[in-house]
């Protein structure tokens, strides 16, 4: 787990090494400076030697400057390394998420991914900084004080040695107990994020049903849950300080007693009173570094849960992957379904699509019509491999879609989704999603085809109009036309419109289809629609019913032979759509 995270150090290796290196310099000077200070008093002031005072003072100043430089540099490199590593972790996570299939995302949930990328990474960043600065300092201080203590009186220093395993056991117990609590607490954070996110997206629903109080109650429950776990975890950690203090204070008392007896019984031969005093100083020093160490420990305990959560994202393997030797060439826009069965749960018993056989020639215009929940969207989402079939196979250009490189396949299969999403950015930015290097002419042309140019031109900023997140400042019909333009701009071999003109009026809808027929005759066009008028001039129409193909024929033929189609057609004739 740690190994995978260490891979994120990358270009910050040097900083990660330099930071602790300068810490060592700082620590060495920190040991030397008090010695110099003691000498300043003993040899200078007490002996009233002004020259000695000045010389030692000068040396001390130099030492201070060195210590300052080391301290500043270690601080600098530590900041650089920790923020850099955090950057790389976020980057690796986000890149991996981009490879995720929808199943992967469903597994984690959006809200959890967001917390993992921010809160968890921040925890790791803080822990890493603590680690490369403090994790060197404290042990060095600890070891040096214990070592010096040993040279003064070995027997007495055994007290220190005896204390350390007790501490280790106590720390181990705390860490193991607190980890599971932290894991739960972070899950609580995910829930918290989820509620806030849902409320932000659905604020209109909340307000119009006057459910503010209901939502508050839901939120309070989660927030109470997070509080309980958070305080539980911190209460366990709170045991850390008293345990440390107990050990150090205990050893001070032990040293006082045993030390005093040794001094008195040996009449200062085994241990002098001065040496006993310095033992106390070292015991205090030990206390300080143990305190530091325990603080670092707390950070590491906390980040352990975060590391695990980050690691889960980093090692998650997308379940839709391109083959080893992918095919980049999609010969044409023909599509074939061979006995395809599909289930979101990957269980043929609960299939959304059953035994679908279909053959579409390149350049044809195909309409799909069917009742709500008849799996129209599901059917077309198998073509660009947004999902993989459960059984059977889907062929594009005569080859199984699983043989293609994913990017190459999706480049040729442009899809306008039912739930259109525009991103915050200008209209141009959004259209260039379709093709990065699209020229202004290409953009204008695509917008003309999608009948979007007209309304864009009425905007004061035209193609540079800023679209708010989710396209909040354009209307539904405008959004749909922009999305169509975005798909057209890539000049795909297959174009799929999943009910993407539902908010566009019939006249514009007809103009769009006319433009398709005239301007992109070689592109295979699949149109899912509610309106018969949107599909009736297609070469062939698929009638879907409960996940099965009920009929696949031309408008005229269906009208004379297919009951479902006839019924839909009549419902709309009477409704007077045409």
């Amino acid at each position: 787990m740690i190994k995978r995270l260490l891979k994120c150090v990358r270009e910050y290796k040097l900083s990660s090494v330099l930071a602790p290196a300068f810490v060592i310099g700082e620590v060495v000077l920190e040991v030397i400076i008090p010695v110099l200070m003691a000498r300043l008093i003993d040899n200078g002031i007490l002996k009233q030697d002004m020259r000695y005072i000045l010389i030692t003072g000068a040396i001390l100043l130099v030492a201070c400057i060195c210590s300052l430089s080391c301290g500043v540099l270690s601080g600098l490199f530590a900041a650089k390394a920790s923020s850099g590593v955090a950057k790389n972790i976020r980057k690796d996570m986000f890149y991996n998420i981009q490879r995720f299939s929808f199943k992967n995302i469903d597994k984690f949930k959006t809200s959890s991914l967001v917390t993992r990328l921010t809160t968890d990474v921040t925890n790791v960043q803080n822990a890493y900084q603590m680690l490369i600065r403090g994790a060197i300092r404290s042990p060095i201080m600890l070891i040096s004080s214990v070592t010096v203590a040993m040279t003064i009186n070995f027997k007495l220093s055994l007290i220190f040695i005896a204390v350390i395993p007790i501490l280790a056991i106590a720390l181990y117990l705390i860490i193991t107990r607190v980890h599971s609590v932290f894991m739960k607490m972070f899950k609580g954070y995910d829930k918290l994020n989820n509620i806030v996110g849902e409320n932000l997206h659905g604020i209109r629903v909340v307000k119009s049903f006057v459910r503010e109080e209901h939502e508050k109650k839901k939120f309070f429950d989660v927030s109470e849950y997070v509080y309980k776990l958070g305080s539980k975890a911190e209460k366990i950690i709170a045991l850390n300080t008293p345990v440390m203090n107990l050990c150090v204070y205990g050893s001070i008392i032990a040293i006082s007693w045993i030390g005093a007896t040794i001094v008195v019984n040996s009449s200062e031969t085994a241990l002098t009173t001065g040496e006993l005093t310095s033992m106390f100083t070292y015991a205090m020093q030990m206390l300080m570094s143990l305190m530091m160490l325990s603080m670092i420990m707390v950070m590491i305990i906390m980040s352990r849960a975060s590391i695990q959560r980050i690691h889960e994202v980093l090692v998650e393997e997308p379940d839709i992957t391109p083959p080893e030797n992918p095919d980049y060439d999609i010969p044409d826009g023909s599509i074939e379904f061979k006995n395809v069965t599909f289930s979101y749960a990957n269980d043929p018993e609960r299939a959304c699509l059953s035994n679908v056989d279909l053959k579409i020639n390149s350049g044809e215009t195909i309409g799909i019509i069917g009742a709500t929940g008849s799996s129209k969207s599901t059917l077309v989402q198998l073509i660009p491999r947004l999902y993989d079939v459960t059984e059977g196979e889907v062929l594009v250009g005569g080859k199984n879609v699983k043989n293609y490189d994913l990017a190459a396949l999706r480049d040729e299969v442009a899809m306008v989704l039912q739930k259109n999403v525009l991103f915050s950015g200008t209209i141009k930015d959004n259209l260039r999603w379709g093709k990065e290097d699209a020229t202004d002419e290409e953009i204008v042309h695509a917008c003309e085809l999608a009948q979007a140019a007209e309304f864009i031109n009425t905007f004061p900023d035209g193609y540079d109009t800023y679209i708010e997140q989710g396209g909040a400042n354009v209307s539904g019909g405008q959004k749909q036309r922009l999305c169509i333009a975005r798909a057209l701009i890539r000049k795909p071999k297959i174009l799929i419109l999943d009910d993407s003109t539902s908010a566009v009026d019939t006249k514009t809808d007809a103009l769009i289809r006319k433009a398709f027929a005239e301007e992109i005759p070689n592109t295979t066009k699949i149109i899912i629609a509610q309106r018969v008028s949107s599909v009736q001039d297609s070469d062939k129409i698929i009638v879907l019913d409960g996940g099965r193909i009920n009929a696949f024929a031309s408008h005229e033929k269906l009208l004379s032979q297919n009951e479902i189609y006839k019924e839909i057609y009549n419902s709309q004739q009477k409704g007077g759509l045409e």
Partner: protein, 642 residues
């Protein structure tokens, strides 16, 4: 694609008035928290006293207890033993106090976080729709986690640490003054220099911490937007662009995080070494003074003990400076939290409320507790009398003008008369202002001019929550919540029974597909119902509205993703649902609205035609052209239709 444009996310990278923010943070120490915090303070002082006393004791241990024993034939260790037991007792007290301190702090800090979060959420619920339309969701989410989290470090660690350091400083200061006032003044002068440095570095650091929290918010927003739109990203193989966009925000964050931590990290070594320099200066200056004997009272002995004291004095200052990091970060985080809390909530001056009602013996309307399927507006008057008006669903818009921004009016002279039980339809090109009108009726936005009356009452006088309770709304963009299908339907009326929910689902024709789901009505919905089709989600949101059973309904493209055949079936249910209710319908599909009592044709924010289907057809105007497909309503108005 460039990074999201920074919007209302904290105007300047600067913390104005940190004292005020700290005061506000402390205001969360209320009730039990305050008591706990006082106990914590007592504990901190106890620990500090124990530590100070024990170091004094250890200093005297050898002289008082060990040296006298030297040379004695039979050493009497009893005094030492007693002294050690006393010391042990003091230590025990210190240990207990330090445990109690961290234990209570765990409760206090976590409870404060909870209260801050709860306050934020409550306040967020009270904000006007406009706020949500203009802020990045992910950035707001970040305030609940990343920004409140910064408070934990500060309350849990920095405050206790600072408190105990302050105590040590105080002890050292008193001792120093008793030793020599002039040298103390000299030490204090150097401290002033140190404080200037803290201020300089601290303000640099704080600037970048503010930027860091802002960047975290931005990155949160970007991730949220991209993962929510993952299908589009994938369908367009836009992963690379998406990564590039992420990288640029990530780089910005790393730069801010680096700068912030850099300044925070270098503060400690600077302070520590300044302490050393001060030590040298005292030694040199003091030594010279003592040797020359120029100033009386400064002797060698004084200098020696003073040097020790000055270390005791500057060390805690260094320790405090180490906490600056956490404090500044917490200030930056809480500033963002308080920014949200300071947003102006939706104003509601309404005093007319909705109550259950029944007729009394005299045939007058009377308020009652139980649900009677009859409601009345309770209208208190200035003279203390209360009148009741029966809720009928009579909605009148009288010469209404409206603009999302005052300079730009998008609706002009809108007058609509919807009698109880009537079905009013809005037809018009996208952007004509159809949705905007409905946003005004439930007061998501307030009108600029004109009047809207509901059962003869100006809606500005009606309490917003009661007004909205009387209006059911089904939106085109369906939003479902995490929970079971049943819970989602029940959202319309929380006290509805399972049977009522199922009946509503049947009415909306959602029952059949729900029964086909693996767990039926108990199927869990996650991620806004990602596993349901768009049409199925719309059916659920119709069922949700049906359960609410409101007297007035607004259907905004409620059936746009439902196929016409299903719609016809739903329509039957809808018709029985709409029976006796005032209904506002927005639909592109003219079949949906054909049977309306009145159809309003909107263009560029004005009503250009009105009448029922037959009348409009006979009129041979825009509606006729639209109906026959001969004309497309121009989509000229570029303003939000949402």
């Amino acid at each position: 694609m460039p990074g999201p444009r920074p919007r209302n996310m904290g105007p300047r990278p600067k913390i104005d008035n940190p004292g005020k923010i700290i005061k506000r943070i402390f205001s969360y120490l209320r009730g039990k928290n305050r008591l706990y915090f006082i106990i914590v303070l007592v504990c901190i002082i106890t620990v500090a006293v124990a530590t100070t006393t024990s170091s004094v004791f250890l200093g005297s241990l050898i002289d008082d207890y060990v040296v006298p024993l030297l040379g004695q034939k039979t050493a009497d260790f009893n005094p030492l033993l007693i002294a050690l037991i006393k010391l042990g007792a003091l230590f025990a007290l210190g240990i207990f106090a330090s445990w109690l301190q961290s234990y209570l702090m765990a409760i206090v800090s976590q409870r404060m976080l909870k209260e801050v979060r709860d306050d934020m959420f409550c306040h967020m619920q009270s904000l006007p729709i406009k706020y949500f339309d203009t802020h990045l969701y992910g950035d707001l989410m970040s305030r609940y986690t990343n920004d409140t989290d910064t408070l934990r470090q500060m309350i849990g660690m920095s405050i206790p640490q600072t408190m105990s350091s302050m105590f040590s400083i105080l002890v050292a200061l008193v001792a120093m003054i008793r030793e020599n006032i002039w040298l103390t003044i000299f030490v204090l002068l150097t401290v002033v220099v140190m404080l200037f440095i803290v201020k300089y570095v601290g303000s640099r650091s704080s600037k970048h911490f503010v930027l860091q929290q802002k960047s975290i918010g931005q990155i949160n927003g970007y991730i949220e937007e991209m993962i929510t739109g993952q299908k589009v990203v994938k369908a367009f193989t836009h992963e690379q662009k998406c990564k590039d966009g992420f990288d640029s925000i990530n780089e910005e964050l790393v730069e801010n995080a680096f700068q912030a931590n850099k300044y925070a990290n270098i503060l400690m070594p600077i302070m520590g070494n300044l302490g050393h320099v001060q030590y040298v200066l005292i030694a040199v200056v003091g030594g010279a003074l003592a040797l020359s004997g120029a100033v009386s009272g400064i002797t060698i002995g004084v200098i020696v003990s003073f040097l020790q004291l000055s270390r005791n004095f500057t060390q805690p200052i260094t320790q405090i400076s180490q906490q600056i990091n956490a404090v500044v970060m917490a200030l930056a985080g809480s500033k963002r939290v308080f920014d949200l809390l300071d947003e102006q909530p939706e104003t509601d001056d309404g005093y007319v409320t909705l109550v259950n009602a029944k007729y009394n013996k005299n045939g007058e309307i009377e308020e009652c507790e139980e649900r009677t399927e009859m409601w009345a507006w309770k209208h208190p008057h200035k003279d203390g009398t209360v009148t009741y008006t029966k809720l009928e669903g009579d909605v009148v818009l009288d010469d209404v003008d409206f603009g999302y921004v005052p300079e730009k009016i998008v609706l002009h002279d809108i007058s609509i008369y919807a009698r109880p039980g009537e079905k009013v339809a809005f037809v018009g090109a996208t952007g004509a202002g159809k949705t905007t009108i409905t946003n005004l009726i439930n007061r998501f936005y307030d009108i600029a001019d004109g009047k809207i009356r509901y059962d003869g009452i100006n809606i500005n006088k009606i309490k917003k929550s009661d007004l909205r309770r009387s209006l059911g709304i089904v939106l085109q963009d369906t939003n479902l919540f995490t929970g079971t299908i049943m819970e989602n339907i029940r959202y319309g009326r929380l006290e509805a029974t399972d049977e009522e929910c199922i009946a509503a689902a049947k009415l909306a024709n959602a029952h059949d597909f729900i029964m086909r789901l693996p767990d039926g009505y108990d199927t869990e919905i996650t991620e806004n119902g990602a596993s349901l089709s768009q049409g199925q989600r719309q059916l659920l949101s119709i069922a949700r509205c049906a359960v609410a059973d409101p007297p007035v309904m607004i259907l905004d493209e409620a059936t746009s993703s439902i196929d016409t055949r299903t719609e016809r079936i739903v329509q039957k249910g809808m018709d029985s649902l709409m029976c006796g209710r005032t209904v506002f319908v927005i639909a592109h599909r003219l079949s949906t609205i054909q049977n309306s009592d009145v159809i309003m044709v909107l263009e560029l924010g004005r009503i250009i035609e009105r009448g029922n289907h037959d009348a409009l057809i006979a009129q041979k105007g825009k509606y006729y052209q639209l109906y026959t497909g001969a004309f497309e309503l121009s989509s000229g108005n570029q303003d939000s239709d949402v």
